[in-house]
Every structure is written in structure tokens, then in C-alpha cells.
Symmetry: C2
């Protein structure tokens, strides 16, 4: 086995070679390509379906813009434009011959986090030790997306181990924030966040076990959804901590437009992923849930707001919802510290062994921090026994029951006859911080521990006049968008993504109306 640094050097050269050489020059998008790449997912799909734009055109435009983005923020890992264009040609041909689209995502380029295997391509996932790990078949989600007519075209960067909220590894390096390269793009789906923010992809797939979809979406100003367990197929993708099945990682969409979130979820769920993934939940897209049948059909909702220390944009959201006729009450979080702790204890029960065994193949260093000037061994708790793990899992189950009862008990306070319909809370205690400083994930991980689905949506950007530095976060740069999360009230395994999407549409519309 060559030394890991030699493997990395060779891989980087191959990556460079995978970029069509005449696209490496800057400023090469024409007006139409710029128009295409600035278009939201729903409109893109309409124009593709009507053949106003061909799949080839759309794929070409996004591929070019992705390569520009990559040169700015180092967001790509595998680049397979040739395959994508071949698939796009097939789709155009099919539409021309039959007059019919292949599926609900006909012609839509989709980027994928660097763990979602594609036959014949490597899946490196930030490990030098995985250079040369070619997949012999597609992940189930890739098959599903292709069946729906989508066009996978690039994969995107992650942190080594996936277990950091920033994106840096020894193979592909670091993905900075496209709004300010001295700040982090977040993680672990930071490559997706940066690429989609630069409109190098209309929609990307990230994964989330503690905030890894929501954090980069928040730091890059995107709409996103962390679905509940098993709604989007995970089978056949690579992951760290494999076999840890108590707090599963989930896949979900990251996109510039809320329409993309709905389109993606509806398409994937209606493709019956349970026929290909034994862990996928057998539950069709439920239009009743989307129409908020259990929430008075979306009229006179009651939102709970979980404040942090006076963040301005929560106030904007509250005012917008009240103006739209909804009620807003304060959400009282209970046991968030315990939930974070027990969830992380479950995830790290054997993470040291997992990571050491993976990296020992080539002797690549385990990254100790995401800071710019330091790498080396990452200190972690040593492994625990299966019995100790069971006790953690039991504690978590009991706490989930307490939280559910806490939520149901709010029915006496809302005046709607129902418990609070949804919670609005921040994704992080701050906007995107500088590299190496994104250390606190408790605003997101708690919802993984509870398995409540959650969207993110952009509200406003930081204004240095209005948004003075808070003393406890004085060390963070005051640039970036604030993005908030909304949690839906169906707070259980397999809670309805349908409802959380519709409620986000309501919040988004209320915000737009007050702008």
C-alpha cells in the first residue's frame, strides 16, 4: 500500500482530470445558462417537462457553474459530467419520442454528498484510506433518483469521519463558506451547502445525524429538510459508525427553493423505496398530512417559538406569523442538555474504534480539530460495553416519552384545542463562525435524539447596525444569514414530512408578505 500522501496526490490529479478542460476557464456561462441556474426547482421541472429547456442544456449549465463554484470554495469530490450528459441525452430522447417525462424529477441535476455510492465511482468520504474504494453498485437512493428522472452529476465534500459540523479532510481539503471564505460552510454536508448556495446545483442530498443537513443549510442560507428515520432510503450508502442503529443518520434535500424540498420528498417517497431498502418506512406520501388535516387545515395555527438570546430574526418571524393570523407562544425546552448528551454518548459509544480501524489502513492522521493550524489524533472516549450502551438507549427512550408528553400538554395553552402545531427555533447559537469554531450543535442534535423532522429556511442576513455582538458569542464574525428551523408537531418516528413542509410554506409565505 503506498503512503497515504501519495494516494492523495494521485487522487487529486485524477479529480482535476475529471473536469472538462475547456470548462476550467472562468466567466464561461452564457446568459441562458445563468438564467437556467438561477431558476427554482419547480420552474426548472416545468420547463424540462415542456421541453422548453432540454436536460442536456440544464445539466450543462449546472455542471459549468458547479465547476466554477468548486474553484471558489473547493466543494466537489467526484465529478462525472460525462455520465450526467449521457443520461441527460437519454432523457431528452425519451421525451422527444414518447412525449412523456421519465418521472417527477425528469432532467433535474442533483448533487450528492460524498457517501452516496455510484457504481464504478470511488466513495472516499474524506478518508485517504478509502481512495480506490470503487462501488460495485448504486446506493438505493441513486437508483430511486434515476428512476424518477434525476441526473446525478457531482458529489460533494465532507469532514473526515462525517462527525464534525465543518468540512475538512486530508484528501480534498476544506470547503469554506461561499459568502466569506474565512468562515466555515458548516458540516458535515458542507460541500453541498456551498455548492447549492453558489447555484452550482439546484438541489443536493445531504445527511444528518446531529445537524449535518441543517447546519450547512443555515450557514449557507438554504432551505432543507431533515426527515425522520427511514423516510428516505439510506441502504447502500457508506457511512461512519456503521451498525449504530439507535440514532440513524438520514438523507434529506438542501436547495435554494422550498419547492425543491417538497418535490424531492414526494418523488422519493412515491417511488416505494421500501421495495429496495429494508429499513425504509412503508408510508406513501400523504396529501392529507400535507394539507394539515390534523392542524385545522393550516388556519389559525399556533407556533411555539424557542428563543435564544434575543436573536433578531426570530422576532421578524414571530411578527410575520402574527400578521398572517397565527398565534405564537413561547416554547419551553425541557432536558435539551440531557438529550444532547445521551444522543452524543450513543453515537460515540464505539466511534474511536470505528475511526481508528478505518484510518489505520494507510496510517493517515485522524483530524483532531477543524482549526486551520492543527491536525493530529482526535481525543475521544474509549468504547463502552453493550450493557452500558443499552442503558444509554433506555435513558434516551424515556426522555423521548417525557418530551412527547410535554408537547401534548401544551394543548391547554394554545386556545386551538390542539397542542402547539410547530416549534420555530434557531439552527445554531450564531451565524457561520470562522473555521474551527463551530463547536456547539445543541440546537440541532436534540431533534435527532427525539427524531422530529425539521426544515430550515432563510429569514434575513446579519446587519451590523441592528445585530450587535452578543457578549457570549463575541468571538464570532458578524456576517451571514440567519436561518431558522421549524419543527413539526408530529413528534415521533416517522412523523409526517408532509406536514412540516406545508408549515414551512406557511411561514415562508408570511415572511415574504412582510418583506
Amino acid at each position: 500500500m503506498p503512503h497515504w500522501t501519495a494516494l492523495v496526490a494521485e487522487k487529486k490529479q485524477r479529480q482535476l482530470n475529471s473536469i472538462p478542460q475547456d470548462w476550467l476557464t472562468c466567466g464561461l456561462l452564457n446568459a441562458r445558462e445563468i438564467e437556467i441556474t438561477n431558476t427554482s426547482v419547480d420552474v426548472l421541472l416545468e420547463r424540462l417537462a415542456s421541453a422548453e429547456w432540454t436536460a442536456i442544456e440544464v445539466t450543462t449549465a449546472f455542471s459549468k457553474r458547479a465547476i466554477v463554484a468548486h474553484q471558489l470554495v473547493n466543494c466537489l469530490t467526484e465529478i462525472f459530467v460525462d455520465r450526467a450528459l449521457a443520461r441527460a441525452a437519454e432523457l431528452d430522447d425519451h421525451l422527444k419520442k414518447t412525449g412523456k417525462i421519465v418521472g417527477p424529477l425528469h432532467g433535474l441535476p442533483i448533487s450528492l454528498k460524498d457517501q452516496i455510492c455510484i457504481k464504478g465511482l470511488e466513495t472516499i468520504m474524506g478518508y485517504a484510506s478509502w481512495i480506490g474504494k470503487y462501488a460495485d453498485k448504486n446506493a438505493v437512493l441513486v437508483d430511486v433518483l434515476i428512476e424518477c428522472g434525476a441526473v446525478p452529476f457531482v458529489r460533494t465534500n465532507v469532514p473526515q469521519t462525517l462527525m464534525w459540523p465543518e468540512s475538512f479532510n486530508s484528501v480534498f481539503g476544506r470547503t469554506p463558506n461561499p459568502y466569506n471564505r474565512s468562515l466555515t460552510s458548516g458540516g458535515s454536508s458542507g460541500g453541498e451547502g456551498a455548492l447549492v448556495a453558489l447555484k452550482g446545483s439546484p438541489l443536493g442530498v445531504g445527511s444528518d445525524i446531529g445537524g449535518s443537513i441543517r447546519i450547512p443549510s443555515a450557514f449557507c442560507g438554504l432551505y432543507s429538510l431533515r426527515p425522520s428515520y427511514g423516510r428516505v432510503p439510506y441502504c447502500g450508502a457508506l457511512n461512519s459508525l456503521e451498525g449504530q442503529d439507535s440514532v440513524p443518520s438520514v438523507f434529506g434535500p438542501m436547495t435554494n427553493s422550498l419547492s425543491g424540498v417538497k418535490v424531492f420528498m414526494k418523488a422519493v417517497v412515491n417511488a416505494k423505496p421500501w421495495l429496495k431498502d429494508p429499513l425504509a418506512v412503508r408510508k406513501k406520501w400523504d396529501e392529507d398530512e400535507y394539507n394539515l388535516a390534523d392542524h385545522g387545515y393550516g388556519k389559525d395555527l399556533c407556533f411555539g417559538i424557542m428563543w435564544d438570546d434575543g436573536v433578531r430574526s426570530l422576532e421578524i418571524t414571530k411578527a410575520a406569523l402574527q400578521k398572517a393570523g397565527h398565534k405564537v407562544v413561547d416554547w419551553k425546552p425541557i432536558k435539551h442538555r440531557l438529550l444532547q448528551q445521551v444522543t452524543m454518548d450513543i453515537l460515540t459509544a464505539a466511534s474511536t474504534e470505528d475511526i481508528m480501524i478505518t484510518t489505520s489502513v494507510t496510517g493517515e492522521p485522524i483530524i483532531a480539530t477543524m482549526e486551520l493550524d492543527d491536525t493530529g489524533f482526535r481525543p475521544q472516549n474509549s468504547g463502552i460495553t453493550a450493557y452500558q450502551l443499552w442503558q444509554l438507549q433506555k435513558l434516551r427512550q424515556n426522555t423521548r416519552k417525557e418530551y412527547l408528553d410535554h408537547w401534548e400538554a401544551t394543548a391547554s395553552e394554545t386556545g386551538t384545542g390542539r397542542p402547539v402545531d410547530a416549534i420555530i427555533c434557531p439552527v445554531a447559537a450564531y451565524a457561520a463562525p470562522p473555521h474551527g469554531k463551530n463547536s456547539y450543535t445543541n440546537y440541532t442534535t436534540v431533534w435527532n435524539g427525539l427524531d422530529y423532522p425539521a426544515t430550515t429556511f432563510p429569514v434575513t442576513t446579519v446587519d451590523s447596525t441592528l445585530d450587535g455582538q452578543e457578549p457570549p458569542h463575541g468571538f464570532y464574525d458578524d456576517f451571514d444569514q440567519y436561518v431558522y428551523e421549524m419543527y413539526d408537531p408530529e413528534k415521533f418516528k416517522n412523523a409526517p414530512e408532509e406536514a412540516v413542509i406545508k408549515m414551512t410554506e406557511i411561514v415562508d409565505a408570511a415572511l415574504t408578505a412582510t418583506k
Copy 2:
């Protein structure tokens, strides 16, 4: 703390006192009570709803018969007829005043396995160490059943640890088979199996992590369903191996009539258990799935039969289905040995610690075998690490994917355009064996590892002329019913109980038509 034997003696006296003393005499059911207790669940519910029979009458009849059954096969643990009659009186009163039933299970007595907590009662679960463990609230399922109008009235016996397919413990002793007391009733829901078989309860709730509903149902000739994970709420019940959440135990119905299986599942699922149990799947009863919309609406199905060594009743079932116009092909099992092994390895990852910590409180002996003449320490593997557990869980996930693909691939063989619609296979390699001999659970545990829902249904009884002893099982008594399992084709987490129930109705009707 008194010695465990003193605790047991005192508990047994209290149990005896809980039986209405004038019901201890044999032969006390009158003709109407015998008619009531011989009636199937659907007809019982009709007569209760029409007030032809009162809830008091029905509860009294089953309570009396349960006490007779208990004196024959020692099947009860907690007996709370007084509460049940008080609840029955409320139900009668409600119906009289409003003309309306309280819910879909109005007035139906339901027995519960001795782990389903009821406020103010002990939950002993076969542990002397848990004598005096009074519940301060109901298990979620109890609340749901009461909300549906059911009348819980007794709880039923289990093995110490729940992890045996027979039912014996140091507190309540052994539950033999009602057809032949020298044979086992099975386990771990053996108390339910014996009670329901003797018609001391129209419907009981058992739990199943490796066959614990299906084995006693098979050995006692009942209909039953092992639902998939999270369909029936488990929250608030006690269990062994708590915190083991990779292969969860599930609750399901055991009953004399197939109608009981459907009625129970529909009522529980439509009560929205996810509002009370954070692990309950948010999935309503799906009438489309019950109508087999994905299976040609039940016409021209293709069943796969998994044969064992020439058991006669599989041949009966095959012939009946073919006569009803369905196709039957051989089912080729793959990796059943591996699935059994990895599932058991996950379950026993920390079972020694779990059981020793529980029993150490009073020093009660850990039961080493279910044989009549031996107790003492139960030898087990010592605990493994969390990392080793993750590797087992990963192996299981991968094997689930292989099995799913194997099933889907049968589409090329059925001639229906679909994969095999359902599998029919035995519950055990034998009918009920003598006490201590029920050592092989691979016909059931494999489906827990895969999380496929499964019913059991009675086919025929052993005929010593037709059913010669097979050489490998020559040591088993040749008396009892054979009961078979049917697995539904939706082979995933949250697979539709609706479909498996309907398919069982089809098989049952085909068998009835050929009798």
C-alpha cells in the same frame, strides 16, 4: 429485604385472595356464560354494541372461565376482576345513557401478558425480585385499550427473563399446555396461549422478540399476529433487556378467531398511539393495504411455501389454496441460520448483565433450563463491547437487504408480474413438545430479525395414523395442533399488518372450504 422464597409465598397468598372465593368452585358457568365465552370476537362486539349482552355479563363470564382455566393450567398472574367489573358497569351505563359505544372494543375483556403495567398493580414478570413493584401509571397500550372500550381483567404468566419459548418462573410456577399438561404451552406468552385456548379470554396481548407470540399460539391452536416494529405501542410496559433497541420486542393479539386479530389492530392503530408513544409509527390503518391493492386485490395470488420435512398440514394448505385459484410455489430460504444467529447475538449482547442485575436484588436463582428437574444458573455468553455490537447490527442490516432482494427477485417466477405475495411456513419443527424440550426457535426468530409481520392460524391436529414420528424429532410426543405462519410480502419495517391479515383471511377461507 425478606428472602425471595418468603416474598413468593406471600405473593401467592395474595394472588389466591384476589380470586372471588365463590368462583373457586368448579362447574359454575351457566349455559349463557358458556355461550358467551364460546363466541368469536366479532360477534361478541356486535352483541355488546347492541346491548344484547351487557359488558358486566361478558366480563363475568370470561372472568369465571379464566379462573377455571387458571386452576387447570396455572396461567394467571394478576387477577383484578373487581376493577374489570367496575369498568364494565361504566360501559353499560354509558351505552344505556347515550345509545353509543365508547369505542371499537366496547365491553371486550382483554387479557394481558405480565409485563403490561396497570396503575396500582404489581408487574412481576416472573422475577421474585419484582414482587411489590407497583406501577404508578398504565402502559400506553392499556390507556389505548381502555379508550377503545376494552376491559382488561387478568394478566398472564411468562418465563423468568422472557427469553425462553416456555413459561416457568420461581414466583408463579409453570403454565402447561391445555391440550396435554405434560407438554409445554410455549412461551414467552405461554400464559396467554393457555388462557385463550381454554376460552378464559376472547383475546390476549402477547409480546414477541423471537417467536413469543407465535410459538404459544401454534402450540395452543390460536390465531395471532406478530406486527412489525412500532405499530402497537410498547411504551410504559416493562421488559427484559431494556435499552436493546435494534431488534425490538412487539405486542400483538392472540385469539380464537381471526376477526379478533383485525379488530384489535384496527382499533389500536386508529387510536393514534403515536400521540402517547414516541416510538409508535405514525401510520393510520390503511384500508387499501387491507384490500390488497398492491396484490391484485387478492385475486390470483402467488404464495410461497417454505416446507419443512414433509409436515402434512402444509400439504393441506397448499391444496386448499390451489383449489381457491391461487398459485403456490416453493419458497427457498436463504441465510436463515445466519439471521437467527445474528439476531440472537444482538439480543444476548448484554443479557447476562441485565438478568444478573435484576435477580441480584433478592438472590433468586436464575433459571438454567425449563426442564422439570433442574434450576440454577443459566450459562450465557459474557457481554460484548459496543463496537462488537455495532458490527453485529451492521451484519444484520446487510442480510436484511439480501433477503429483500431475494424476495423481489421472485417476480420472474410467479407469473403474476409481482414477487411472491406471501410466504407460508411452519412456526416450529414440531407441535408442542414436552416441558423443557422446546429448544429450536429458528422458524420464528428469523422473521423478527427481518422484521416481517406474521400471523399464525390453525390448520389441523396431529393424527397418529397419518403423522408418523419423523426420525429427527422422534423424542417428541405426537399430540397437538400444527399451526402455520404466513408472512406477508411487504418485508420491511412497518410492513402492512393490514395486508397480512387479509391474506390470512384468504388462506383461512380456503382451508375452511376444503374441510
